[in-house]
Symmetry: C2
Subunit: 627 residues, 2 copies
């Protein structure tokens, strides 16, 4: 049985947390504020100290600062400062040339209020008693944590943050920043977070606290070694609080997914690691939990755990209409990221934030990153290409400029893109020219709003952005294409059209595009109904199945139509599952009482518009319709 | 704040467990065995007492006995015996006229070995010390529990059980029964169970035990009031073991789903119930957990919890090939039921049991019941129509007889069935006659094996069963149709063809049917490849898209083909997403090197076979193909 060393240097012990230790932070700085901090739930803290670390240089304009908000058990040490420094908790994302590039940005990461790594918290001296706060530390909120951070930002002389970025509970702080100080945040990245915990997540926190408070060594919160006194302003426990280990074990399950636990422990269930623990350790899972529980007790304060989880549990910016109202003050751009296997902060909660932002026409992009890693995914390297790419691309577009790089065609890692070798301003996609002309000619204003359903890599919207149109939003089902959009500075929501557009308001957009996507949609009726509801004008393009060569193929050869052009697939592998003609679509519009304003019929083989008998001679149709 | 009474009479307190109490069981019987019970992991129990309850009458042939195996925290009181009796834990399923009909069956429910409700367990007298067993109770296995139950069955004079039924851990006992005593079990119903716990489930159990063993009032397991002594052979604790409440709280989260917790606690999060507890109680979730934890400690023994969960955790009949080997001895019919939102015993684990049984041609049906209720679903009334119907239908077919009721057409609750008003032996589905004739004429044996992919309500397979063919298996995606099959005594697996047939062996069936299903399959190539691998002969029928009226529709009218017959849908709402002709399919077979043995072309409008130019004149094609 391999003995596990202190660094957890064993495959199964690798976790988002495996690098963390109780070691002193070498590059920590302190800011102390003597003005009392009034707390949201009443009471106040007489003095406030914030422990923080910084990376990179603040520029002269002081507009390149990024605030990173850590999660429940994090601290100011987001990344290593140099080769001699201890690893940080987000080294994969923060550093020179990384997603959050410290060559470009001045990164600030403070330990949160109520924490136990240097910022004022239960393990600090209570000036009114001369003892540690311990259980007397007042109840605080996420708002209080942000208030404390705001003082630090003032202190650093920063008027407006380039961005606030946070995952998990850090995402809640990010949301709070954007709501509380809209004029001080230019952009926000909320990762694996929620407007309020799920009832399930809340339940896990409650059980963790119950385990701590009923732990006899907790001693009602008075477990500090007061004789030894404070070191760097921090009191340490005289005895470890065992219930904190139980709470941490519960936490660890919620950070992993069922699938990632299967991968981690499935094959060696009966080969536990040799850990020195009083907890159960006769399976690999048990030894992992014992190890993680014991390690955590060494480095974390039980009262902090209670104070912070209570703050997290009481964060609640509402659901539905309430959430829209909560987010109303937001002025900054938003990037929201979730992970498919995250069940602690499930994707639908991120979507609810996105939906609420979209409802009032805020600028937002969203991606639900495919990952088996659970909530931990945002701290692991496995999907860093996607989520790190999203963050980097998003941070690079804090103004409306279009760069040369945005105009470059992207090669699709998945090889799924149409015409990957074609510049987006190449004439090959002639339907784009017609789509653009149609919108320009029918536009009710100089800068109409446009929703592009199935927006692909965002090239159509980028054309419109070049025209100076500003309220542009794409919807795309493929995460790699969402990434391409964000890299180009195009707002894009990662969503499946078959779920409908319930999240958009009536007449919310001047134009809604559905470009060569209809034929791949299962629930056609729903999508069209929703388009007509959401858009003042809807533009639908699709391959015309009654195009002459296709008719002939069925009529003369008795074979399902296929062609070298748009319909280049075979019957058994085509992504197209709906077959319709121009005449069919006209019938359909008539049946549902939709108004047809224009039909542009194209022949993409000859690159020309078809005027005569389009249902026979055109292979692509563009309809402009409305309710 | 409403005060909660002892019965948990509040909406949020309703759970699968809400009726359970520590009240004495009025109808319990005891069987005592003086012969020592040798245990799988070593050691033995000198004496064995089993507490059990029975319902209904054992018939003269003694072949109507059903053994019900309870879950972790259950007991012998599966149902109320009369109006004056306390509620049982499965009253919704067991009783006169219910799914497990005590008018027909003699139901036996024993408390499991290691339990704390009358059967020998840690709270019983250890004859070798004169004290309760307490922590000295030996480690036991699911096999030991079954061994103890087998003694009871012997004692009751029952040679062969009509069925063994169990959910959750009870399902593990059910599997063990079928493996250990294949000749004593005619059928088995395994509900919401697994061949071994997931690593995630294991982790929750470990944390629960850690909470118990580090609880100071646990006192290393010696917490009984020995002075008070035993009552009915049971010692009670002198002090409640608080850690057991923590374990139970964790358990409760795993029994619910995220969705069911949202429904239960989402709207009244900040309206806790007034419970008398030392645990956190300032949210509705917290008060629920405190209540459930406290109640459990009153009625359950902490040492039992450890002994039983350890037995459950060590149950492991393998995965993949090992699981097939473990299940090799099984002779009985199987019904396996899972629930979509069950994440403690997830559906894929039930599927792995099913797959392993199918791999060696055991008789098995499977349904993954759609439910938001999580693991608890099998104890709740919400989906009783489906899972109760499955159990009742399955129990009614323990022999190969075909009853009149089987031949009746079923009305489909969802209204999705083709021809619901048509008797299954009506001539209207003429393709069935041809399919049957084709198989009879090409059969390699008098009783060939047949797999029907997309089997619907099982009417085709029932025709073959009437012929005396016995190895018949259906695959169906709709749970209501799976239910119809099971009610008719047809083995059916609830599965999506698009996932492939990886779970079936090469050449496992003489015939594989894909009857009028191909056109609704997305991944056509995969399904056909898999059919050809699994079946010696494959019979594929589909609507011919090159049928003359359809060609004309496109050629002359320029509209996507639709007809009053087989293709009665519109382009935007048809379930048919693949369009092919007889010629297309011939090309396709040629391309992939499949051999076409026969083509039967039909015109279903004229009810006749088409000999001349089938690609033009037939609306339905039946191909017999092979690799």
């Amino acid at each position: 049985m391999a003995k596990v060393n202190d660094t957890g240097n064993d495959d199964i012990f690798t976790s988002s947390d495996s690098v963390r230790s109780a070691a002193p932070l070498k590059h920590v700085q302190y800011a102390t504020f003597d003005e009392p901090l009034s707390l949201e739930l009443g009471g106040r803290l007489e003095r406030l100290r914030i422990a923080y670390e910084t990376y990179g240089e603040l520029n002269d304009a002081k507009d390149n600062a990024i605030l990173i908000c850590h999660a429940l058990s994090g601290d100011s040490h987001v990344a290593a400062h140099d080769a001699d420094d201890d690893p940080g908790w987000w080294d994969i994302a923060v550093g020179p040339g990384k997603s959050i590039d410290t060559n470009k940005y001045f990164v600030i990461c403070p330990n949160i209020l109520g924490g136990c790594r240097g910022t004022t918290g239960p393990n600090c001296l209570n000036p009114s008693t001369g003892r540690p706060y311990g259980p007397d530390f007042p109840r605080i909120t996420i708002g209080d944590m942000v208030e404390a951070q705001r003082r630090l930002i003032d202190y650093l002389g920063i008027e407006r943050l380039h961005s606030v970025i946070g995952g998990s509970m850090g995402g809640m702080l990010t949301l709070e920043w954007a709501i509380r100080y809209p004029d001080r945040v230019r952009s926000a990245v909320a990762i694996a977070t929620s407007p309020r915990l799920t009832s399930q997540g809340l339940a896990f926190d409650i059980i963790g606290r119950n385990a701590i408070t009923t732990s006899p060594d907790f001693n009602n919160g008075w477990y500090y070694d007061e004789e030894r006194g404070e070191v760097d302003g921090i009191f340490l426990p005289a005895t470890p609080v065992r219930g904190l280990a139980i709470a941490r074990m519960i936490g660890h399950i919620t950070y992993l997914s069922r699938e990632s636990m299967r991968r981690k422990f499935g094959t060696d269930r009966y080969q536990p690691r040799d850990v020195d623990s009083e907890f159960e350790k006769d399976t690999s899972v048990a030894s992992y939990l014992a190890h993680q529980g014991d390690k955590f007790v060494e480095r974390f304060d039980a009262n902090s755990y209670i104070v912070i989880t209570r703050a997290m549990d009481s964060f609640d910016i509402g659901e539905g209409g309430d959430l829209i109202k909560s987010l109303e003050p937001v002025q900054c751009r938003f990037l929201v990221i979730s992970f498919t296997s995250d069940w602690l902060f499930p994707a639908d909660q991120s979507r609810s934030i996105v939906n609420a932002l979209v409802a009032t026409n805020k600028s937002v992009s969203y991606c639900n990153v495919s990952s088996p890693c659970g909530h931990d995914a945002f701290l692991l390297p496995d999907q860093i290409d996607i989520y790190g790419g999203l963050i980097a691309g998003f941070l690079a577009h804090n103004n409306d400029e279009i760069t040369e790089a945005d105009l470059e065609p992207e090669s699709d890692a998945q090889g799924k893109l149409d015409d990957p070798d074609t510049s987006i301003f190449h004439g090959k996609r002639i339907d784009y020219n017609f789509l653009e002309d149609l919108m320009v000619s029918q536009s009710p204003s100089p800068s109409p709003s446009v929703l592009d359903l199935g927006c692909g890599d965002g090239r159509m919207l980028l054309r419109l952005k070049r025209r100076g149109w500003r309220r542009l939003l794409g919807v795309e089902i493929d995460q790699n294409r969402v990434l391409m959009c964000v890299k180009r500075g195009i707002d894009c929501i990662h969503a499946d059209l078959n779920e409908g557009l319930y999240w958009l308001g009536d007449d919310q957009f001047d134009f809604v595009l559905l470009s060569r996507t209809l034929q791949a949609v299962y629930d056609v009726n729903r999508v069209i109904d929703e388009m007509l509801r959401v858009g003042k004008r809807c533009i639908v393009s699709f391959p015309n199945f009654a195009y002459k060569p296709l008719r002939e193929m069925l009529a003369k050869q008795g074979r399902a139509p296929a062609s070298a052009g748009l319909l280049r697939y075979k019957w058994y592998n085509t992504p197209n599952i709906r077959f319709l003609s121009i005449a069919d679509f006209e019938d359909y519009c008539r049946e549902k009482g939709a108004i047809i304003h224009r039909l542009v019929a194209l022949n993409t083989e000859t690159h020309s518009e078809v005027k005569e008998n389009p249902n026979l001679n055109a292979d692509l149709a563009i309809f402009v319709i409305s309710r």
